[in-house]
Symmetry: C2
Subunit: 126 residues, 2 copies
DNA sequence: AATATGCGTAACCGTATAGTTACGCATTAT
DNA sequence: ATAATGCGTAACTATACGGTTACGCATATT
């Protein structure tokens, strides 16, 4: 298997990104691989706390580790972020619309009628 | 205040996206505003469960609601996703690098030396 | 050989999720 | 006026976080 494109669990990826500390760890690793202890020093929480964050990041395949003597070097693996990026892609065109226009549209009578229709013709629920 | 650019809590945004059901709700709302009940019908979980998801999405400002008779219309607000997008931006260039090259680099003796240096010159810790 | 260092894990705690069922309050329909 | 509908919330449960301290095991140092 050479360079076969790998799929990761989008679920794990989003979950891993939910915590600000973990995002900060990734940001840190963008500057280069670092051993676990050095990563921990960058944060106000205890080393075991970081160790657990690293475990989640590992599960999400957002970092890879390799033993280097008694150190564990952590390296960023941005590949799973591609899934996040492509999920976001579908939304980009939305914020490219003028949101002010959207707002006035929603508050218009036209939208109101659409809303009523959506409600009165649920086309489900009996 | 007219169209003043609003900032949202990135924290809340990422947290809201962590759950697959909530992401699916957003995906659903991309097709158009819907009342809460209709949203709930699209999922295998109970209506109150969806109601709670909607609460989190509201807190994250990813949806807006408005009373429409006895219905509550939910509408997508993609604006907070811009923060996610810009966080991701810093990573895009990484997955544009050839990851195979990166891998061989990391495993090279050169990287090994860098790694050792990083360890032996922590430039912190006493 | 003995000691120090790096780092993961276990055990424990408080809080937030994610789901459930039961309930209550408006609004609409009859 | 009464009944039905739409939907949020309360109360409860199980699980997962995020943090802590204590511990243990390799690897390095002296």
């Amino acid at each position: 298997m050479r360079n076969r494109s790998v799929t990761y669990s989008t679920e794990n990826t989003f979950r891993a990104l939910a915590d600000p500390t973990r995002r900060a760890v990734l940001d840190l690793l963008r500057k280069g691989s670092q051993p676990a202890g050095q990563i921990a020093e960058a944060f106000p929480v205890s080393r075991p706390a970081i160790s657990k964050h690293l475990r989640l990041l590992r599960r999400a395949h957002l970092v890879t580790e390799q033993q280097r003597g008694r150190h564990r070097m952590y390296q960023l693996n941005p590949a799973p972020l591609k899934a996040v990026d492509s999920w976001l892609a579908d939304y980009r065109r939305y914020w490219q619309m003028n949101l002010a226009n959207l707002k006035t549209f929603v508050e218009s009578e036209y939208a109101r009628e659409l809303g009523e229709n959506a409600v009165k013709n649920p086309s489900s629920k009996k």
